[in-house]
């Protein structure tokens, strides 16, 4: 960790409250989401556990858990990190710092509304888009407010040169409003007829969980890895080539091979999956060469369970998740494995193994310099890294093997059951890690508030002096 970095203090001053507002709620939703996921997973151990409570129906728990992690943690936490990276790369303060504070509150309110709606059954019924329209409006307006602040910061940048991280993060900012409005307009507000709904939902899901996550996660990796590794990014031209080919091809993945749609739709996804090998290989080369190359400072960078480890593991998980995704584009494998737990394993790796870990690493790295204080529980940073790594690997492996076993066995549930039961342990480890994360964030917030209050009291206490000033 590089505390000795020289940062314009204005960046820290303006970012502090917005980031706390975004990260605090996000940490809470991560814990809530993983706890719900764990509860859902208990259904594998005893199917009739929640049989008398309609709000604990498995379908509701599953949807609520997915959305709490996706909309509650991933997106707001990512937006917070993007705000900071933009301010940092612009070498200027955050523009309109109060707007993201307001937006963070609207966003977290929207997530609360959406989750309650899922528990009482008011869902849209579309996977990864379960929040009803009221919650979607809140989320969308909050996103736009944060994006305005981010773009204003970007526009006011003192350092005019664009960095590789900029490409990815700017594209990500454009992506979300487009796909979110498309999905909500054509699926919720004025729904299209028939199976076109499903196609639009797949397009949305692929663009959010695969493309948007990759844009943000890769952007952050491009920003942090060179700093950690102590050497410049390897071959920026290859990175640009990877970026352009990635957004051109990845947007066409995501139509399941066995889907009840005309053959050209899955065939187009197969085509895109084949082409995805190009950007993935380019980006892999850039990462590997950046991380393994000799450091300019002469010392070999060590990660020791710190943020560097998070980013390294997260990037590896991204490559693995993509390599898990591409076979789903093969017509034969995709049509039988595409409706098993293998798909859930892939999205878990994408969301929990890649994105959550990268974001947590970024937060662990940037918050101390923003807040001007160390983490209250520095050991938790290392522990959480191990818990998340072990948890994600266990969860993903168990779900993937269970899914393939079930798919090869006439979709007989019994053949997946032992693996699904083991996956509960992975979720437990992930929950443990997220609790450490939340503890660090919340205790840091409380400490900062106490320090603020102390400072405030110090000003208010001596009334004599104040009167003197006034007179």
């Amino acid at each position: 960790m590089n505390r000795n970095e020289k940062i314009d203090p204005a960046i820290g001053d303006t970012c502090r409250v917005p980031l706390l507002a975004l990260f605090g709620g996000a940490a809470l939703w991560l814990v809530v989401g993983l706890a719900i996921e764990l509860a859902a997973s208990l259904t594998f151990h005893n199917p009739s556990m929640f049989a008398d409570h309609s709000w604990l129906a498995y379908g509701r728990l599953q949807a609520a858990a997915n959305d709490a992690v996706l909309y509650g943690f991933c997106i707001p936490a990512a937006l917070g990190v993007i705000l900071w990276v933009f301010a940092r790369l612009s070498e200027s303060e955050l523009v309109l710092p109060l707007v993201p504070v307001l937006a963070a509150n609207i966003w977290h309110l929207g997530v609360l509304v959406g989750l309650v709606a899922i528990f009482i059954g008011d869902t849209t019924g579309f996977q990864w888009l379960e929040f009803p329209r009221g919650a979607s409006v809140l989320l969308f307006s909050a996103y736009m407010l944060i994006a305005i602040s981010a773009m204003a910061t970007f526009g006011a940048r003192r350092e005019r040169k664009l960095q590789p991280a900029h490409w990815f993060l700017l594209a990500a900012l454009v992506w979300f409003p487009w796909i979110y409005t498309t999905a909500n307009i054509f699926l919720v507000a004025w729904p299209v007829r028939g199976v076109a709904q499903a196609v639009i939902d797949w397009w949305f899901t692929n663009n959010l969980i695969f493309v948007w996550f990759a844009l943000v996660g890769l952007g952050l990796a491009f920003y942090f890895l060179p700093k950690f590794a102590g050497r410049p990014l390897h071959n920026p031209d290859l990175a640009l080539f990877g970026f352009v080919t990635f957004i051109l091809f990845s947007t066409w993945c995501g139509i399941p091979q066995g889907a009840p749609v005309p053959a050209w739709l899955p065939a187009a996804s197969t085509f895109a999956s084949v082409l995805m090998l190009i950007p993935i290989f380019s980006l892999l080369t850039v990462f590997a060469r950046t991380v393994t190359g000799p450091s300019l400072t002469g010392t070999k960078p060590q990660c020791k369970g710190g943020p560097f480890c998070y980013i390294k593991f997260g990037t590896t998980a991204f490559i693995l998740a993509t390599l898990m995704l591409l076979p789903l584009g093969c017509p034969h494998f995709g049509s039988w494995a595409g409706i098993t737990w293998y798909v859930q394993a892939q999205s878990s790796l994408q969301i929990l193994g890649f994105f959550t870990i990268v974001i947590c690493g970024a937060i662990y790295e940037l918050m101390p310099s923003v807040m001007g204080m160390e983490w209250p529980f520095p050991k938790f940073v290392r522990f959480q890294h191990w818990a998340f790594m072990a948890g994600a690997v266990l969860l993903v492996l168990m779900l993937a093997i269970g899914g393939l076993a079930q798919g090869m066995n006439d979709y007989n549930f019994q053949s997946a059951l032992p693996f699904l039961r083991f996956s509960t342990l992975g979720l437990f480890l992930l929950l443990l890690g997220s609790l450490m994360f939340a503890a660090n964030i919340f205790v840091m917030t409380i400490k900062w508030n106490l320090a603020l209050a102390k400072g405030f009291i110090a000003i208010v206490r001596p009334p004599v002096k104040l009167q003197e000033v006034k007179s």
């Binding site: 960095q163 060179p226 102590g230 090998l277």
Partner: protein, 202 residues
Amino acid sequence: MMSDDLKEHSPATEKPSSGDGFAVPVWIFCVALLLLFLGGVYFDEYSGWFNAQVYAPYTDANELESYQPVSGAAAILAQGKHTYDTICTACHGPDGSGKPGQAPPLAGSEWVNAAGHQRLVEIPQLGLNGQVTVEGQSWNLSMAAMGAGLSDSDLAAVLTYVRSSWGNKGDAISSDDVKTIRGSIAGHPAIAGDAGLKAIKE
């Protein structure tokens, strides 16, 4: 640990040793072209070129056409069964055994198994009221003109199905027969019981 002189913009300033220009290895472009070609061949072969009717496992419209079932005797029976299950089954029962208070049986009925088919084609098109004797049992119910809205081929198929199922033995009825009879009875009132049925010339 990072030195202060390694600024944010330093990554972009590192140029590969090859000098100016876009420093992406040429072989990546070659691989890209190869993948583009392979993917294109796959798409050409399996996509059906955006045809809304072509689903896997079919790969183009011609192949799909060649797999359309021809309407042989079995297809006609299947079509008739589908029509029967949609319309007739509610009263006459799925096995043609009829239901007390709703409809007489079709299975084994002398009217169904008669040599000619004139009456059988007329009943569903005109409806039937009043006293009817079927298999020695007397029924006094009314049947609406359930078949008036069916196409010639559907009516022919459902009657053929009735005449060849549940032990019934009757000839097939063609859609041309139905067409001819339909033209000859246009505007007739509903058939009135046994007397009305017997008045129909086979």
